[in-house]
Point group: C2
Chain length 300, copies 2
């Protein structure tokens, strides 16, 4: 399962109850946080996301609307007595800023924070089941996009067969990952008898803040779901370029040329109170486009 839950879809200036950028990525049993604008911890609470389960946080770049919620979130995780490790992937200066903030508060996190500075295009973290890579985008300051990929998706439990072989529900999770079951009598129940093959692996790419840049195309080629910013409507292409942002038509063009499954658009300028036209404009170029709406989970 791959899902993207939007916590904030607005650009720099919060407006119309739209919040700065933050997304939660669900990849099978993993939760990742992607960017962390001011108020992200409140948004996580609002949408009842079990954020104790987030073990990896990725920050694309150091404009405030993408990370000013980070110190508060890390603090609150500490106040809630988190003890398990947390991994933070972000541009280098974040670390010094956080350390100064913790020092000033005389506070020490009760969990281990592992900091991984973003420097080049690379695999940031890889397990048997999934991986996350980063790639540069073209913005006013150093900025990174991220790609989340299943490597080995879970098999599907066939509930009828599982019941017939008297496999307890508590073992289903292990079935998904390919284990066979030995029952109380010592008989082996082969995994293949009670599961169906895994579907093909899914992928999600997040292009952060970026100018229209065809170099992104090979990097996000063929992903199931692509997030591309659309700070402006198509009539403001010049302003978008001047500010290293993109328009609806530009985002949809990247989606089309990269042959992705579905396009998600967001990072709307606070000059717009209504969003429908963003979707209309993008769909003229790439049909399978959706607005990134706060509180909604987009599943692949």
């Amino acid at each position: 399962m791959l899902g993207v839950t939007i916590l904030g879809n607005n650009s720099a200036l919060p407006a119309f109850d739209r919040h700065p950028t933050a997304q939660v990525i669900t990849l099978d049993d993993q939760l990742f946080l992607l960017d962390c604008g001011e108020g992200t911890q409140m948004q996580l609470a609002r949408y009842k996301i079990r954020w104790g389960r987030i073990n990896h946080i990725f920050i694309s770049h150091l404009h405030g609307d993408h990370y000013f919620g980070l110190p508060g979130l890390l603090n609150s995780m500490g106040l809630l007595n988190r003890e398990h490790d947390l991994h933070l992937y972000a541009p280098e200066p974040v670390y010094q800023i956080l350390m100064l903030q913790f020092d000033a508060a005389h506070s020490k996190l009760p969990y281990k924070l592992h900091f991984h500075p973003l420097t080049d295009e690379c695999v940031l973290v890889k397990t048997e089941r999934w991986q996350v890579t980063c790639f540069p985008t073209k913005h006013r300051i150093p900025c990174f996009g991220f790609k989340f990929e299943q490597i080995k998706p879970p098999r599907r439990v066939n509930p009828e067969n599982a019941v017939r072989y008297e496999i307890p529900a508590s073992f289903y999770d292990r079935l998904k990952w390919g284990e066979s079951y030995t029952n109380k009598k010592g008989d082996l129940v082969d995994n293949a008898w009670v599961t169906d093959p895994a579907p093909r692996p899914n992928s999600y790419a997040y292009c952060a803040d970026t100018i229209y840049d065809e170099e992104l195309i090979p990097r996000v080629k063929g992903v199931d779901l692509l997030y591309h910013e659309t700070t402006y409507l198509k009539d403001l292409a010049e302003r978008a370029t001047a500010r290293f942002h993109a328009t609806t038509v530009q985002a949809a063009t990247i989606a089309k040329k990269a042959g992705v499954g579905r396009l998600l658009i967001g990072h709307f300028s606070s000059k717009y109170d209504k969003l429908d036209i963003f979707e209309q404009e993008a769909r003229e170029v790439f049909g399978n486009t959706s607005l990134a709406l706060e509180g909604v989970t987009y599943k692949v």
Copy 2:
């Protein structure tokens, strides 16, 4: 006129749609911001406060729930093309943190930010009409309270007389501050003919985060309105002391011993979902007590 508008009344962990500490003080024609927890800029927008008019921001101490909203607010003021100077009074390390954040974003504020580090008990800013002083409170880290005082409150325009003397409404503000009016014929209308004497000066003291501390009493003696934190109910006095916080009964005791006009209590722990009992407990010791409720303006 002296008013205190509550933007956040909760302690460290946001909960129950209660926000971390922030207050707006209205003193005649001035707006001050007092502490700036995460999300303060959203709260300012929610309660339609004209925050372009805030020229002085006071930060009591560097626990995140009192200042993590500051960089976002300063940034947004820039995005809204603020050009007039802003004064920030805060513990020293804030400045380095902000400078690192601005550097990382390659951003430069379009207005001048004057930083005034808090060091000792002193007058922070004084004009003919009002002054703000700070005083230390006892908390886990260096922490300051603030006192806002009218020095010369505005006189009251007598509308009947002002109309009789044909004084244009646009001149009323100058009447309040004691000016006399010269009409088109060149006749002087003496200020005293069209205004009533000013009421006595008002004052507000904010004790930030603090343990029960009788040294506060002389500092806040006789103010019209006192804010004192009540992180806990009276049964948790031990926990309050251990964490350098205060209870309802302790806050009310300070108010009573200092002979203040009215007590405002806040900084409620997120362990409490209902607040009524805070008011009840405090009122048993000091009758004129009110809960600091978000969005409400408490006037003197």
